[in-house]
């Protein structure tokens, strides 16, 4: 699973297709062809292609919940803004030696991080073996000596890694989908486990939700575990939080300069992401914290604020 790009509200297909034209130039829906389809243990895994891009989807109306897309001519480019925002984690910790990614999707994040950080150990946890196959066959993802894919539930892996006393300098949570959230991976207890799994100065980056009542609950839950965090919003929302003290915006800005050349190859500027760093709280602080005992994340996600 992987967080998808929620380019528009679910029902607003017309608006959505209009938006898509801006997000992905030339991605006219009529030209989209289904090139691969399989039913996994968890879902349908679909691969669509048009003249310029290839996308992984878990639903038939692929323009709503695209999990991952690659530019066929320039596969290095990051087509989704959320993946660019996730890389903002590197402004807070520019040289993570050990990285954990929960949710493979099309493998864009691990592929990009591998290119940026050739010496980093990257562990990717993916529950669905079909997603791994498709990422390898259609999206150019491949494991290497320092990149391992673990086929397991994300939370079960986090607990196992804690028992093994492992630590990560960067943990990316990308296991949420616009349609379904693994509720046990959006609770205070889970985030406490994630924080314990971070090395000193370690950073967590989470691709999460930008609308619905879940926004409030998710915000107060992250706040209760990590204190202040950077909240990056576009159509998606990315949370960047630290295990210890959150680096200042000046430090982030300083680190971002290291990535000017690397990010321009990926199709964006470090400044565009830095401009979205925000520590303000624009949520209802009285919202109920999500816990293992209380985690109706999917119900909240279906309710408007």
């Amino acid at each position: 699973m992987s967080g998808c790009a929620r380019s528009a509200p679910r029902a607003a297909y017309a608006l959505c297709s209009a938006l898509l034209a801006c997000v992905l130039p030339g991605a006219a829906l009529a030209q989209q062809q289904l090139i691969h389809e399989e039913r996994s243990l968890y879902r349908q895994v679909l691969v669509y292609e048009d003249a310029d891009s290839r996308c992984l989807c878990f639903t038939r109306q692929c323009f709503v919940g695209r999990q991952s897309c690659i530019d066929l001519k320039r596969p290095d480019r990051l087509l989704f803004e959320y993946t660019q925002m996730m890389l903002g984690a590197l402004y807070l910790n520019p040289d993570p030696d050990r990285i954990l990614i929960i949710g493979l999707g099309g493998g864009t994040l691990p592929r990009t991080l591998r290119a940026l950080l050739p010496n980093a150990t990257i562990d990717v946890v993916e529950i669905d073996p079909a997603v791994l196959r498709v990422a390898q066959d259609y999206f150019g993802f491949h494991a290497d000596a320092l990149m391992h894919v673990i086929e397991e539930d994300g939370r079960a892996y986090v607990r196992r890694a804690l028992r093994g006393e492992q630590r990560y300098a960067l943990i990316m949570l990308d296991a949420y989908d616009h349609q379904y959230i693994p509720e046990h991976m959006l609770t205070r207890e889970f985030l406490e486990e994630v924080r314990s799994l971070l090395a000193p100065g370690g950073i967590v980056a989470a691709n999460t939700f930008s609308s619905s009542r879940l926004y409030d609950s998710e915000s107060v839950t992250y706040r209760s575990v990590f204190g202040e965090f950077y909240n990056l919003k576009s159509s998606n929302r990315v949370i960047l939080a630290s295990a210890t003290s959150l680096p200042t915006l000046a430090q982030a800005s300083g680190n971002s300069r290291r990535f000017v050349a690397a990010f321009s190859k990926l199709g964006f500027t470090p400044q565009s992401v830095l401009g979205r760093f925000n520590t303000g709280s624009d949520w209802d602080v009285r919202a109920r914290i999500l816990t293992d005992q209380y985690s109706p994340a999917n119900l909240l996600n279906g309710t408007s604020r």
Binding site: D153, R155, A156, R159, E183, H184, E189, D292, Q293
Partner: protein, 198 residues
């Protein structure tokens, strides 16, 4: 009144089983995840416990069946759920660290925590059929109505828990609430001595 309380107990028991089954998924998820294996393990344990419970309930109905004893079964099922509240988390913590495999870890956990209450709940339907049936001619009719009530209760327990209760209450609060209902229903039935109509 006598028949109504039989149906009420069977219907409530159906509600109870399915609500607990859904919450079992919640309780196991932090430790074993919510992969298809974990749900498979939970459903297996519940189905197995119910099937054996039916067998035991039918057998128990052979000797001196009474409404009071049926109510006691309901109370035992509720009491057997108490360890889930008291020892659930420490047990899951131990089992998940001892058994890495999500399949057998969740199977064993679900069996230890939920087999007994579900087994006893399964005893209720066949036992209640025995109390309802007066003659052979109407046996199928009564059994059909009882299955209806019990399975309808299960449907209600499923939808109420998954759509609404989890939105307002914590998992343990829902379990406590249900234990309260079982306790009230069981004690009331025991306390008010109904006479069989036939």
């Amino acid at each position: 009144m006598y028949r109504a309380s039989l149906y009420l107990i069977a219907g409530w028991s159906g509600f109870f089983v399915m609500a607990i089954e859904l919450l079992a998924g919640r309780l196991l998820a932090p430790y074993f995840g919510s992969s298809i294996y974990v749900w498979g393990a939970i459903i297996t344990v519940f189905m197995l416990a119910l099937s054996l419970g039916y067998l035991a309930g039918g057998r128990a109905s052979l000797s001196a069946p009474s409404l009071r004893r049926l109510a006691i079964l309901l109370l035992i099922a509720a009491a057997a759920t108490v360890p889930v509240l008291l020892f659930g988390d420490p047990l899951l913590e131990r089992l998940s660290s001892a058994l890495g495999d999500p399949r057998f870890g969740s199977l064993l956990s679900a069996a230890l925590l939920f087999f007994l209450p579900t087994f006893v709940s399964g005893m209720i339907s066949p036992y209640a059929v025995r109390l309802l049936v007066d003659d052979r001619a109407s046996a199928g009719h009564h059994a059909g109505k009882l299955y209806f009530v019990s399975t309808f209760g299960s449907a209600a327990g499923t939808i109420l828990t998954s759509f609404y209760l989890v939105l307002y209450l914590e998992v343990n609060q829902i379990v406590l609430l249900m234990l309260g209902v079982s306790l009230a229903l069981g004690i009331l039935t025991c306390w008010i001595p109904f006479e069989a109509e036939a």
